[in-house]
């Protein structure tokens, strides 16, 4: 039963990890850029939900309101920092993106510090207490978070595979020039992808807030996990990110209870994911579901 409980916890955490890493994967897939401020947008989502909930809005409404607000922030950032250099085919665009997203991350973290203070904040969960299924006990906050994350991921997959816009995004991800020839507005798709990526990170932050507390640095460790998941699953692969998230959660949890020396097992929790990543990259450099780079 203990292992079933651990597995249930791993699946719950894995679902939240999947939501968090999908934004990073989507942005890389469509815009071909690595968003180094992903963790800070996750933190922004955490605070946004915390603030809206503190305003006594009904909690589901507070969560839903986060979506358009975060999407709007994503559009603003894309328009303000990324669009023009891309349009002008700026030399060293990739390096520019690394620097600008890094700087944005540092800025957001340092902005959060004076505005919200350095304290740990408890965002209100939709449901409190715990859920019991016989011997299986799981926190209601994380279970609710995982269920919402599950539906958000489902909605995203429906959007990407069943709607015109979603297909457009995938077309731009595969070949922007060809997509442009068939009439897809590449710039618009890039903006939508960035907005969606930021929204996914932020919603993950809003769901993490009630479970793991909100503070200006909350995004840092989650961002590292998101990078591990995205590289593990294959850069830009949606399927890879989802499966990679579950693999990471299972490896972290079972690694920290099965290590021969239990007194140190938890100390290496973050290392298990990185170790797994190294092994996968040695055996399959493109990640589990990534495509091999085509070389001329």
């Amino acid at each position: 039963m203990i292992y079933l409980s651990q597995l249930a916890n791993a699946l719950v955490i894995g679902t939240l990890y999947a939501l968090m890493s999908l934004g990073l994967s989507l942005i890389f897939g469509v815009l071909k850029l690595v968003n180094f401020s992903h963790g800070e947008f996750l933190m922004l989502g955490g605070y946004l939900y915390f603030l809206l909930a503190a305003l006594k809005l009904p909690l589901p409404l507070a969560l839903v309101l986060c979506i358009p607000l975060l999407f709007f922030v994503g559009l603003l950032v894309e328009k303000g920092f990324l669009r023009s250099p891309y349009q002008k085919k700026m030399a060293r665009y990739d390096e520019y993106v690394i620097l600008v997203t890094f700087a944005l991350g540092i800025f957001l973290q340092n902005l959060a510090l004076p505005i919200f203070g350095p304290y740990n904040r408890q965002a209100q969960p939709l449901f409190q207490g715990s859920v019991r299924l016989g011997e299986l006990v799981i926190g209601a906050d994380r279970l609710t978070g995982a269920i919402i994350a599950f539906f958000v991921i489902g909605g995203l997959l429906f959007f990407l595979y069943r709607t015109y816009y979603g297909k457009g995004l995938r077309a731009v991800a595969q070949n922007p020039a060809a997509a442009s020839i068939v009439g897809i507005k590449v710039l618009r798709m890039r903006a939508v992808a960035f907005g969606l990526g930021i929204t996914l990170a932020g919603v993950a932050g809003a769901l993490f807030g009630p479970v793991f507390l909100v503070n200006p640095e909350m995004g840092t460790s989650f961002a590292v996990k998101a990078f591990v998941i995205v590289v593990l699953g294959g850069m830009g692969s949606i399927k890879g990110s989802i499966i990679g998230a579950y693999i990471l959660a299972i490896v972290e949890i079972f690694g920290s209870i099965f290590l021969l020396d239990p007194s140190r097992a938890l100390a290496y929790k973050d290392a298990y994911g990185l170790l797994l990543l190294v092994v996968v990259l040695i055996l399959r450099p493109q990640g589990l579901f990534g495509e091999k780079e085509r070389r001329a």
Binding site: L213, S256, A267
Partner: protein, 407 residues
């Protein structure tokens, strides 16, 4: 015109150089090092600073130090040793502080004392508990809070005497956290109590897998020691309660870090905080003296809550440094050290502070050996530590024994 411009510029430059210099002659600066941003224990750091500021205001209202104004220079260490080193370097070389007080993380304090030792600047550690801080034997380092060996040997004795049979300790991977694990092991295993110890990075946020493991252990774990600070301490209590492990009728939980002492504790853990045990190195109003009452009143007026142990330590650390400066009529590092070591016998908020000169055991060097230690237990939501049930020491106890939760 050009010449006038150059002359004016040079004039301004001189003003900028001279004004701080003139000002510095009328000011005595004391540095305060504290974690004021994550991943450090921010609540603890803020309490330290709040207490220290009250001390400085009180000194300045009474005419200052040696006829000069006392100025506190606050340095945020974020609970990170490398930042602690950098902050100490800045305080000593740039801000020219004559002494330093504060700190709440042992690993940071251990980095800071190296800088203090190199420059011969006295440092009064207010809230870092690792034995090594004073065991290094540096003449510049004093401590007016407990050490791990001092407090947890007493806590371990209380645990054994109360009848707990299997103690689990989850400690952070820091000098303090690993020290907590070691002292519990040393004191309990010899007394026949089973100890299961685990260590983890300070950044860990999910303890559920380990707590589930402990919940299913045989013999059952009946006492959990939460050896974390900051978010980790709060999350462990919250998650232990969520899975029905602790605090419960079967398992008690001791929050060894100081984050159990602040109002934010209740905002984050909610009902999980009821029946949690804590071990503050001081309680407001004990002993009941004019100084403790005066400090309590001022703190309550300013911050609208009872002062906690850490705020009292922040206040006391500035006050003992000021006392040494007054006694020696000097701000030279060696004089302050001499004053602290040989002359200071100052009545603080938690008793009369006097530093020990013996080095046996090594951690006892420059410690205040009579520092008060309590084991308290919250009995209702949003309870202030000063209102919680005192379980130990017997002379201050408000209840006869540990209060077992009903479910």
């Amino acid at each position: 015109m050009y010449r006038k411009l150059v002359v004016s510029a040079i004039g301004f430059l001189f003003l900028f150089i001279l004004i701080p210099g003139v000002n510095a002659q009328n000011v005595i600066k004391i540095g305060i090092v504290a974690p004021l941003s994550a991943p450090g224990g921010v609540e603890t750091g803020q309490a330290l600073v709040d207490g220290a500021k009250i001390a400085a205001e009180e000194i300045n209202a009474g005419g200052g130090l040696l006829g000069k104004k006392l100025e506190l220079v606050i340095g945020d260490t974020s609970g990170q040793p490398e930042k602690g080193t950098a902050v100490m370097e800045r305080l000593i070389t740039l801000d020219k502080v004559v002494a330093v007080g504060g700190e709440a993380h042992s690993s940071v304090a251990l980095a800071e004392i190296e800088v203090a030792h190199r420059y011969g600047i006295p440092i009064v550690i207010a809230e870092a508990w690792s034995d090594s801080v004073t065991a290094k034997g540096y003449p510049e380092v004093f401590r007016l809070t407990v050490s791990n060996s001092l407090i947890y040997s007493k806590a371990a004795t209380w645990i054994k005497d109360t009848g707990f049979k299997h103690v689990a300790v989850i400690g952070e991977n820091s000098d303090w956290g690993l020290g907590v694990i070691q002292v519990f092991k040393d004191n309990l295993i010899a007394a026949g109590v089973k100890v299961t110890a685990m260590s983890a990075e300070r950044t860990v946020t999910d303890f559920t897998p380990q707590l589930m493991q402990l919940k299913n252990m045989q013999p059952p774990v009946d006492f959990l020691v939460d050896g974390f600070t900051g978010a980790g301490e709060l999350l462990m209590i919250k998650q232990a309660h969520q899975i029905g492990f602790a605090p419960s009728k079967n398992t008690a939980v001791l929050g060894a870090g100081m984050d159990t002492l602040y109002p934010n504790f209740w905002d984050t853990v909610g009902e999980a905080g009821v029946y949690v045990l804590s071990n503050p190195a001081g309680l407001s109003g004990i002993p009941k003296t004019s100084i403790s009452e005066k400090f309590g009143k001022t703190f309550k007026t300013k911050l609208n809550r009872e002062p906690d142990a850490v705020a009292m330590e922040g206040y006391d650390s500035v006050m003992v440094l000021a006392e040494a400066i007054k006694l020696k009529k000097s701000t030279a590092g060696k004089d302050i050290i001499n004053g602290l070591e040989n002359q200071v016998n100052w009545e603080g908020t938690r008793g009369t502070i006097k530093f020990n000169k013996e080095k046996n055991p090594p951690w006892a060097y420059h410690m205040w050996m009579d520092v008060p230690v309590f084991i308290i237990q919250y009995t209702k939501m949003k309870q202030d530590p000063s209102q919680a049930a005192i379980l130990w020491p017997a002379k201050h106890a408000t209840v006869k024994q540990y209060i077992r939760p009903p479910k």
